[in-house]
């Protein structure tokens, strides 16, 4: 059972203690062949029938490692022993119950539905952050233009002050006025890791890679969205052609699949709306360009690196790395027909109407 929220405070604290207790190792420059702090053995991947290095199968990049290095942690890798402790602690928390009566407890038990990370394959990674560049493991600061732009978006979304005992969702003008105010992942329109980059969304961080002549397809379990990546060097469409997940083009560099994605419609990364709010690319623009690199380094592992560029948001590109582990069992994926089963939207909106009425009555009472 996950300690939802509270548990991660404890996990963060544990990580911090572990990290502080160990002398940082200097000069560990990030290198593709050094995912876990040890050099990868030379590996020649098998080939598909049409001669591509074989990446096919079911993979996960489920991880406990955060995108950004926690403040106070100065080293690039944990030791395997530190990670053993951290994983045992995380599993213990996942097996526990949350504190009854707390807001974080208003949730079903993830463990009962097999959704705790310790219950299925996950990709062990000794890094202290997924970000490998900048070397401090943190996102580069946003440009002044981006700060101004995102502040304006946040301000436009700010509603009035709710009466005591109510939230901003409970008053007229709040996010639950209509379906359009609800975040796009809650609406099942788009979720983390459906558009690149593929960063673990917590559970179901699973992908099926399918290779056919001239194409690589990545089927993301969440939303069962398939990204078709042509390998024939065709040009990107003009900038007027845009989509939620952008447009991807791939090619092989030796055994590494390199995929570039542009032509996003900007809605996924829009501040306060995107599924990755506060994370990977929240606040970026439609000019964002992502370059992913997939290298199979063993029968069970793919090294996955990506670089994000958006000069309107960050003064410099940044790069992160999160390995993929071969899933056991190998599939299948149950169709994640999120939109069809999403009763939550109707429930949230009907709840909001009831609460809105109560909040209005509270205000009326207060002013009498």
């Amino acid at each position: 059972m996950i300690h939802r929220g509270l548990g991660w405070v404890g996990l963060g604290a544990l990580l911090t203690v572990l990290a502080l207790a160990t002398v940082p190792v200097a000069g560990q420059a990030p290198a593709p062949a050094k995912v876990n702090g040890t050099a990868a053995k030379a590996y020649t991947p098998p080939k598909t029938a049409d001669g591509q290095p074989d990446l096919s199968g079911y993979w996960t990049n489920s991880t406990y490692i955060p995108l950004q290095r926690p403040k106070g942690v100065t080293k690039e890798f944990y030791t395997p022993e530190e990670m053993d402790k951290m994983e045992a602690a995380a599993k213990a928390r996942e097996d526990e119950q949350t504190v009854p009566g707390t807001q974080s407890d208003v949730h079903y038990d993830d463990g009962q539905f097999g959704l705790a990370r310790s219950q299925s394959t996950y990709a062990r990674n000794l890094r202290t952050s997924l970000i490998v560049d900048p070397p401090d493991g943190r996102l580069p600061p946003q440009t002044e233009e981006a700060v101004r732009r995102n502040d304006a978006i946040t301000k436009a979304r700010t509603v009035g002050t709710p009466p005591p005992g109510f939230t901003a969702n409970d008053i007229r003008g709040g996010n639950l006025d209509s379906v359009h105010g609800i975040k796009i992942d809650t609406r099942c329109l788009m979720m983390a890791a459906v558009p690149p980059p593929l960063v673990s969304p917590g559970y179901l961080a699973n992908y099926q890679i399918i290779q056919s002549p001239g194409y690589v397809t990545i089927l993301v379990e969440r939303l069962h969205d398939a990204r078709l990546i042509p390998l024939d060097s065709r040009p990107f469409p003009p900038s007027s052609v845009r989509s939620w997940v952008g447009v991807s083009r791939g090619h092989w560099e030796g055994n590494t699949l390199v995929v570039e994605t542009r032509n996003s419609n900007g809605r996924v990364q829009a501040a306060a709306q995107g599924p990755m709010t506060g994370q990977t690319f929240s606040g970026a623009t439609e000019d964002m360009k992502i370059t992913e690199r997939f290298t199979r380094v063993s029968a069970d592992r793919i090294d996955y690196r990506f670089t994000v560029e958006d000069p309107k948001t960050w003064a410099r590109p940044w790069t992160a790395e999160v390995p993929f582990e071969r899933m056991d069992p190998q599939g299948p994926f149950f169709e994640h027909a999120c939109y069809e089963g999403n009763y939550s939207i109707a429930n949230m909106l009907t709840n909001a109407r009831v609460l809105e009425k109560r909040a209005a009555e509270a205000v009326k009472k207060g002013s009498n």
């Binding site: 604290a13 707390t102 994640h336 429930n347």
Partner: protein, 138 residues
Amino acid sequence: MRTKLAAMVLGVGMLWVGVPLGAHHAFSAEFDVNKPLKLKGTLVKWEMINPHSWFHVDVKDADGKVTTWMIEGGSPNQLIRMGVTKNSVPVGTELLIDAYMAKDGTNKAVGRDFTFNDGRRLFLGGSAPGATPDADKK
């Protein structure tokens, strides 16, 4: 000194709150933390759908009056991967459910814990160590 260390640890730990746990939506917008609920009833329908399962349960009160409740649970994907199907929890199963009620007062709730009459957790026999075949494999 101890206070200072604790404060620092907490401060850094707070960063981790941002790690997504996969909650698809804000449960607090649907369900009321101040209205915990215990239900004992019979499963009449399991909607094994994404993004969240819904369990329809008939609950009989002291006077014998039956009320049907809709209880929200987790996504079915991983259950199916582990071999759990609707046959694993057939219609007619008696369930005990710890839940939080919907804010609008209708007969809906989020099922915090599902247990069988004999105390076993639903599906997996508990999330205790070893409850799942592939736990701890990596």
